[in-house]
Amino acid sequence: MTVSERFDGFLDRNAGRLFILPAVLLILAFSLFPLIISAWLAVSRFKIGRDGFTLTYIGELNFKKLFTGSQQFHFLGTFSSITLTGWLILLVTALLIGAGIRQWLRSGRLTVLGGIGRLIAFGTLAALAWVFASTLQDGRLGSLSTTLFYVVVGVSLQFVIGTGLAFLCAQDIRGRSFFRLVFFIPLMVTPVGIAYTFRMLADMSLGPFSPLWKAAGFGDFSWAADPWTARLVIVVGDSWQWIPFIFIIMLAAFESQPRDEIEAAELDGAGPWRVFRDITWPSVAPVAATVVLIRVIEAFKIVDLPNVLTNGGPGIATESLTLHAFIEWRALNLGGSAAVAYTLLFVSTVVCVAFFQLVVRPMRQARGQA
């Protein structure tokens, strides 16, 4: 076989890989390069000097500040005794972890890699729950727990409302095209625009609803001055923006399910709840899990709303991890900012991979088997 023939053979065998190579290289260049640079920043100190600036290697110091040093209050929160709510959160977490371990043991696919993955996932989940529960008293959460609050409460709220609206609009009701359009509008507005709109709407003394607030006796109440109401307002604003996303995907899922299964069940005398529970939900569950995963990834990066609505306040009560990193970066503490960003990357990756492995994949497999 000549060299030319061998080369042709190589090209034939690897045509797919070679075609995709430029795209892969581009993606690697634009995603790996910043990752490497920010990794270097995370273990360095940036300093302005006579020669411009210098980056000095300082090891794990930036991370140490976040976890045990002067920035612990900012990142993890202020630790205190665990409240009743905190114990409930820990209990729910323990039950979830227990269920996960039980499911794994019963799956019959006990591999070393699977074990390590679950150890990391469950360990991280337990640590996050412990940090959240231990800093809950007086609302002195750090940016990590505040972000978790946005992710868990925000995405849950958005999923329930978005899915509910989608289910209603999938029914044969009058004006459903109009509702679809209306529900979809917030998604098309830029996040900063939404934040400013929401800031105006939520202004209790000058906003359009101020007469209502005053009539209800809340004229002198400021949601922005209380940590929990401020966080809730941000969750509401975030939900207003993202419910349409869940709505539109879930609507497509509801509308694409086969009608024959539902009709057959109805002919057999199944009521609406039974049809939903046994036919509709299993059919859309893989899509639901995927849409939640996408939202979770996105929710970890929340920055616009807390930045515009509250500037991270009162105090640092509404500061998300991304806003925390941004504020550090704005002060040219590039190392501290990169350390926050890297921790966010780790937490969001572990949570999302675990969610995919433990929720999305089993649902897809179950649907495939069905």
Partner: protein, 493 residues
């Protein structure tokens, strides 16, 4: 050589064109030059720059692009643009206290020679504090002042009269006034209004406020004593009974304020004061001119201004205790009260990117000089919307400009008198001007104060958080270098 008619005509045309171009070049010395100037999202400061930019363009041919960013982003946007060599910005109007971070790596153009040769600027007319402190780093001029800044307290004269009170002389007076006025209908709209409105928003322009209060306790021996660090060892001065007293006053003002005061920036509190909803406020010079705005103000001729209130006790740095104010403990006292007027911010000033083209630097300098020249400045400082406050000696000497702008003689004398008292005070507190001062104040101080106001930290925890945060930065940057820089900026060497 014989010239035919066509050649002669062409030559004449070329000569005419050439002469025309030369004349144009003389008329429009910066024709074709574009200067990108960054400042903060106004409308204050940005508005006069844009308006004067158009006039300057018509006169000189230069194009002035004013680019704005939120205040909290300004320091970093300009610094990273110049430090990384992006150089998309040719000049910036920002806090002169930040200039040290720009001068050390050689990012700011030294304007000393230009200023010396610029008669139209009338540099000698710029008050000494701004000319010698705000504009200079290590004896060289890097900034051109376009605004004068001092914190003062403003009060409603009509309400004071009604309550039988005077402008507050101490912070206790301030609280008493605020308490008495709180809940009164101050603007006749039938609704209860507020005793005090102070901008306390985080990540905004609020972090100077606490220093304006604390200085009364912390600095008593004159400007060179400093109010931020001990000049012997660079130990922060923000953890002692004086600071505790200031923090308590600051929090107490919130009892007589709008419920969302911790979310109000200076623009919000100015608007509230202008609408007659507040009896007292702590602010820069802007209130004085905003109060006479005929279109928006409901408090025309109802506003008095006083130098920052003081304290009858001051911190004894040897013992760490508060002691009564007397000729020894506070030699600059007035009737037993120690006033320490705070030159917060130092006045918006223009600086030029050292890496810009020479033609651009010339145009940028000419623009800043134009804005600062008395002809423009004397008009701009009397208009509240500009955000420019007086900084030239001539602006204090005559009240004609102020009365012409709509201020009563009494109000003008009050207003200018309060600024002059601050400017001339031997116990004036100079703003922090050491490397990375933005990090000390806009990050550590701002965050700790915001947490304190939100109830996350106690008084003691707040002082400890500031002290720990400041010490950490000092250690990181080098305590000796920072101490030297601090002593040099307050004249303690």
């Amino acid at each position: 050589m014989r010239l035919n008619g066509r050649t002669t005509l062409s030559a004449l045309m070329a000569a005419t064109l050439g002469l025309g171009t030369a004349a144009q070049a003389q008329d429009k010395p910066h024709d074709g030059v574009t200067v990108n100037v960054m400042t903060f999202t106004g409308p204050q400061i940005a508005e006069p720059l844009q308006r004067r930019g158009k006039e300057f363009s018509e006169d000189t041919g230069a194009t002035i692009n004013v680019i704005t960013v939120p205040f909290s982003d300004l320091y970093q946007k300009v610094l990273t643009d110049w430090l990384t060599g992006t150089d998309s910005l040719d000049a910036a109007v920002f806090a002169p206290q930040w200039s040290v971070d720009y001068v050390v790596p050689g990012l700011l153009e030294d304007l000393s020679e230009r200023v010396a040769a610029d008669e139209a600027l009338q540099a000698d007319d710029i008050a000494e504090f701004f000319r010698e402190f705000s504009q200079k780093v290590d004896g060289s001029t890097y900034m051109i002042t376009v605004d004068g800044d001092f914190h003062m307290v403003y009060y409603r004269t009509d309400i004071a009269e009604e309550l039988g009170l005077e402008g507050p002389k101490t912070w206790d007076d301030y609280l008493a006034f605020a308490q008495a006025a709180n809940g009164m209908d101050l603007n006749g709209d039938g609704e209860a209004d507020y005793g005090s409105c102070i901008a306390k928003k985080r990540n905004a322009q609020s972090y100077w406020m606490i220093t304006s209060i604390a200085s009364a306790w912390l600095q008593s021996q004159g400007t060179s004593q400093g109010a931020f660090f001990d000049t012997s060892d660079m130990a922060p001065l923000y953890d002692n009974p004086g600071m505790a007293a200031a923090l308590e006053v600051y929090k107490k003002t919130g009892d007589y304020a709008p419920s969302d005061e911790i979310n109000l920036d200076v623009g919000d509190t100015r608007n509230l004061f202008q609408q007659g909803r507040c009896a007292l406020t702590l602010d820069w010079g802007d209130i004085g001119t905003l109060a006479i705005d005929p279109e928006n103000s409901k408090v025309i001729d109802k506003v008095g201004a006083v130098v920052l209130p003081g304290s009858s006790e001051v911190l004894d740095r040897q013992t760490g205790e508060l002691v009564a104010c007397d000729d020894t403990t506070c030699p600059h006292h007035v009737d037993g009260i120690n006033h320490a007027p705070f030159a917060a911010f130092g006045g918006w000033s223009g600086g030029i990117n050292a890496a810009a083209d020479e033609a651009v630097k010339d145009a940028a300098y000419a623009f800043f000089s134009y804005v600062s020249q008395p002809e423009q400045s004397n008009a701009d400082v009397t208009v509240g919307a500009t955000g420019f406050n007086p900084y030239r000696t001539s602006q204090f000497e005559s009240i004609d400009n102020w009365t012409a702008a709509g201020m009563s003689e009494q109000a003008a004398n009050d207003y200018l008198g309060a600024i002059q008292s601050s400017l001339n005070s031997p116990n004036m507190v100079l703003d922090l001007r050491i490397p990375q001062n933005q990090r000390y104040q806009q990050i550590v101080l701002d965050t700790a104060i915001a947490r304190y106001l939100a109830g996350e930290l106690s008084t003691e925890e707040t002082m400890a958080a500031i002290t720990e945060g400041w010490q950490e930065i000092t250690e990181e940057l080098g305590a000796e270098e920072q101490l030297e820089a601090y002593k040099s900026t307050i004249g303690a060497n």
